[in-house]
């Protein structure tokens, strides 16, 4: 497995560095600027009505009267640029094997080596977990850097931050597990990314519609965003065990089915 991990490291080190630095810069900017931008949030809601459901969908709760300065920090963790960066890394990484390898034709070389498909799949998963952890940690350090200059009442507690970060990691893993599953069934990386992007978009739309449309609310449990609610974590001050457990279950089930599919399928590059 050492050789496989070395190969993964050589392939992903630069993209992971770029994603990490990008996330750190964005987190720094958002942490520093969001209090000013959202300071007058109620006036913004009155002037631009669709902003509220959008923020509600992102936060997973109504930001109405309870939208304190501390709660504003929750928006940082659901900001579209933050989620886009995290998911872009997830989609790019988790379609590497087998979709991108088959697409490029290099799977012939890889599978010509004495390595089982399960070992290959597991080493990719290890690489993904580590790279996601690095990206989120570096991104978090950007937040910490900017947060040090904020008023103490604007900073969420360490436990709440740990809960949010764990929740974000869990949602990344769940999206990653599903992406591994789609990749395992695909011979084209672009197709796998496209399908997964459509799923994420549908997931967000479902969460959005669920704010004001009851039929959508009834099936909102199907949206992966339903299990990522930083505002609730800050509000309750407790670790989001139920959400993390659901996301972990999604990760394990989708990743395992993906592994079985990859093990059993025929691989053809011609």
């Amino acid at each position: 497995m050492k050789g496989l991990l070395r190969k993964i490291y050589l392939e992903i080190r630069w993209p992971v560095l770029y994603f990490s630095l990008g996330l750190a810069v964005i987190m720094w900017l958002l942490t520093a600027l969001l209090p000013k931008v959202l300071g007058d949030v109620h006036r913004v809601f009155d002037k631009i009505p669709f902003v509220k459901p959008l923020i509600t969908a992102l936060l997973g709760m109504d930001p109405g009267d309870e939208f304190s300065a501390e709660m504003m920090q929750a928006f940082l963790w659901v900001h579209p640029t933050v989620l886009s960066l995290v998911w872009a890394h997830t989609l790019m990484y988790c379609t590497r094997v087998p979709a991108a390898e088959i697409d490029r034709g290099s799977v012939d070389f890889l599978l010509g080596l004495p390595v089982s498909r399960w070992k290959l799949y597991i080493s990719e998963a290890i690489g993904f977990v580590l790279s996601a952890a690095v990206i989120l940690s570096v991104g978090f350090s950007g937040h910490l850097w900017a947060a040090s200059s904020l008023q103490p009442e604007m900073r969420p507690g360490w436990f709440a931050l740990f809960g949010i970060l764990s929740n974000l990691m869990a949602v990344s893993l769940a999206v990653g597990g599903l992406t591994f599953l789609i990749s395992a069934n695909s011979d084209r990386r672009g197709r796998a990314i496209g399908i997964m992007f459509a799923i994420l978009l549908a997931s967000f739309l479902l969460n959005f519609l669920a704010q004001f449309w009851d039929p959508a609310k009834a099936v909102s449990f199907l949206s992966i965003m339903e299990y990522y609610r930083p505002a609730l974590v800050i509000k309750s001050g407790s670790f989001p065990w139920p959400d993390v457990a659901v996301l972990f279950a999604i990760t394990m089930v989708t990743w395992t089915i993906g592994g079985v599919t990859f093990r059993m399928r025929s691989i053809c590059t011609v």
Binding site: G3, R6, L10, D108, L113, V115
Partner: protein, 302 residues
């Protein structure tokens, strides 16, 4: 123990046929040529052997192990070069020796560098800067660096210049001499003829011939040129049953001999000929017959 054994190996791609009831056996130390036109099923057979594809029916074994279930174990003893080599753009030969060595659990760098020198390959040049031929060399060197007991090569000379083709042929002969087995596919007759002990011909996904090169040569047609004393005899000549008349030109007649030379000389002794020459067995003609797409030929069994 046989290096490769397949029994009625079949693989279909939906409505398309990949390979159909392919039965092969390749002994240790053999250089085995797997010949066939494009799309005949050569690569599919190799992919089944390497466990990339799951057979629809039948089975394949390498060194007595199942090619699908034990594929990772088998590959400790196998070196493989794909027909269309695609490698990672960032990979250099030296880096590849390190990664492959760690995966194989053996230091392949010393022998790998020797081979790189033999194939005139720069070990620190990344694949993205390499020509197709150099990429082919990287794949060959990586396939041979761990001294595998079985080398499976899918059209390995495509992209190599004639000198490198000779180097590869020398390498393969040395390996076979040391007891290693070589299984290589090709659609080029010359390299098969120059290297192989035994040849199987695949067409339309089925094996249409599987025999030693010597046996194949013995039944390969030969070109015969006869010059008669009189043009009128050449003009009215009827070819015997063991030969086919190809053309006449003045006093000269050209035949394709499918029988023995003894039959020919007996037949020719009764005729007023001034000259007779018999060419070498033409494997090319024989292979062209194999490659013929007529249904009658497709029905041939080994």
């Amino acid at each position: 123990m046989l290096a490769i054994e397949t029994r009625e190996l079949t693989k279909g791609y939906g409505s398309r046929r990949g390979v159909d009831q392919v039965s092969l056996s390749v002994g240790a130390g053999e250089i085995f040529g797997f010949l066939g036109p494009n799309g005949a099923g050569k690569s599919t057979t190799i992919r089944l052997l390497l466990g990339f594809l799951k057979a629809s029916s039948g089975n394949a074994q390498i060194f007595g192990r199942d090619c699908w279930n034990d594929t990772a174990t088998i590959k400790h003893d196998v070196g493989y070069v794909a027909g269309d080599v695609r490698l990672y753009p960032w990979l250099t030969a030296r880096r590849a020796f390190q990664i492959v060595g760690e995966i194989r659990g053996q230091d392949v760098q010393p022998h790998g560098l020797e081979l790189a020198e033999r194939f005139q390959l720069e070990p620190d040049l990344p694949v993205r800067k390499m020509s197709r031929g150099n990429r082919q060399k990287v794949a060959l060197v990586l396939a041979l660096a761990h001294r595998p007991r079985l080398i499976i090569l899918d059209e390995p000379t495509s992209g190599l210049d004639p000198l490198m083709q000779d180097t590869l042929a020398d390498c393969l002969r040395e390996l076979a001499g040391a007891g290693h087995t070589v299984f290589f596919s090709s659609h080029t007759l010359n390299e098969v003829e120059a290297l192989c002990d035994r040849v199987a011909v695949v067409k339309g996904g089925r094996i249409v011939a599987d025999e030693t090169l010597a046996a194949m040569k013995s039944r390969a047609p030969r070109a015969v040129s006869i010059t008669f004393a009189d043009e009128s005899i050449a003009a009215t000549l009827q070819a015997p049953e063991f030969a086919t008349l190809l053309r006449r030109s003045g006093k000269d007649v050209q035949l394709q001999l499918s029988g023995s030379a003894a039959d020919l000389t007996r037949w020719a002794a009764a005729l007023p000929i001034t000259d007779l020459s018999i060419g070498q067995p033409s494997l090319e003609t024989l292979f062209r017959e194999f490659y013929d797409t007529s249904p009658a030929v497709l029905e041939q069994k080994p």
